[in-house]
Amino acid sequence: MTSPDIHALGGAYALDAVDDLERAAFDRHLAECEACTLEVAEYRETATRLAEGSWSVPPRRMREQVLARAAATAQLPPSGHRRGLPSPVARWRRLAAAASVVGVLGIGAAATTYAVQEQRLDDQRTTVALAQERADRIQAVLAAPDAALHGGELAGGGRVTVVVSDTEDAGVVVLADAPAPGPDRAYQLWLVPDDSVAPVSAGVLPAGQVQATQLIEGVRGRAAFAVSLEPAGGSPVPSTTPLVGISL
């Protein structure tokens, strides 16, 4: 997934001006490029100087609340001695370890924060394990050596990006900036075995949802990926013309 111009993304990356998949791609680029790692660390350091102009005193009550929450929060143990810049693996792990305070899970690939936020709407307790598992899967796909990046524009607006890995037999779909699907309508994801066989549902977004980071399983041997607009809850087979079709 390393493209020749990915190096140019360093500035945008340091400013957090990339999407989740680009972030993951760039993280992998950094893994192969020690010089870039230092360069980006300098951009980051520079970018954070911009925050100095935004000093603002928080409400007084916040101090007590933060100290109380900290007192009730277990700390991560030291991760062992490190010298210099971390290895890519360490960086992934560290990102993974930076879990959110609610203890659900972390910002592995930032992709997973979306996953968590969706999950939080459900009963938190029961979804913790599932969310963690899903986040791990998403990370595994993004980090797979054979991960391949595809993208396309939806008819009617919006962008879809798909990362698929044959070795993981799974993919990560990011839908962004899509228009509202209308009442009781939902975006549904499809995998297409080949031209002669009907598409297989790869998941339905909650009704009305216009952006998502979705894990799809069973991508191996699939010829294409598609998105269509369906009644809420999804359809067994596509009932409308696909908004986008992407060859895998």
Partner: protein, 204 residues
Amino acid sequence: MTDPDLGPRRPEAAPAVVRPERVEIDDLLRAVARGDDSAFARLYDLLAPRVFGLARRVMRDPAQAEEMAQEVLVEVWRTASRFDSQRGSGLSWVLTIAHRRTVDRVRSEQASADRMQKVAAASVHVPYDEVADQVGTRLERQQVRHCLDGLTELQRQAITLAYYGGHTYREVATLLDAALPTVKTRMRDGLIRLRDCLSVEVTS
């Protein structure tokens, strides 16, 4: 960190001007990593206005910014052992967490169209909060402003729309009606110019 750093403070070699507050933040983070809650209380006082200010600037809603700042600060407590001074300053480590989380939250909660409408507001000068100010912070601001003024218009807009507005470079390209590769490049060379102007260094 399991290093000998746990002992007395290392002699501060190098940069001619060391900002004492930054050094203090690094030391406090190391103490917090050992579970020192009074160090965390002191760290809170140094970091809270910065983290809250950044979240507020990007999110615009004080209540949301407060929740975000709380989350980030507790996260700092939780993950302090992961701070590695070899990779950059503690302040930068904290603000990187704060910025990334804030931006992620904004993007997941707001439809893009919605954010686009806020651009007018985001791209004009935002008045600084009239709050307890410190001489050091004021000087820092002046320096940052001075260095931002040294950028080309496109560099400056690309960087501030991304950093303060939380926009992706794609959105920035749309907003500025510029080509994607141009925006990527301007972000990068703008940061390089800022880095040199601010004398930012990361020792590895």
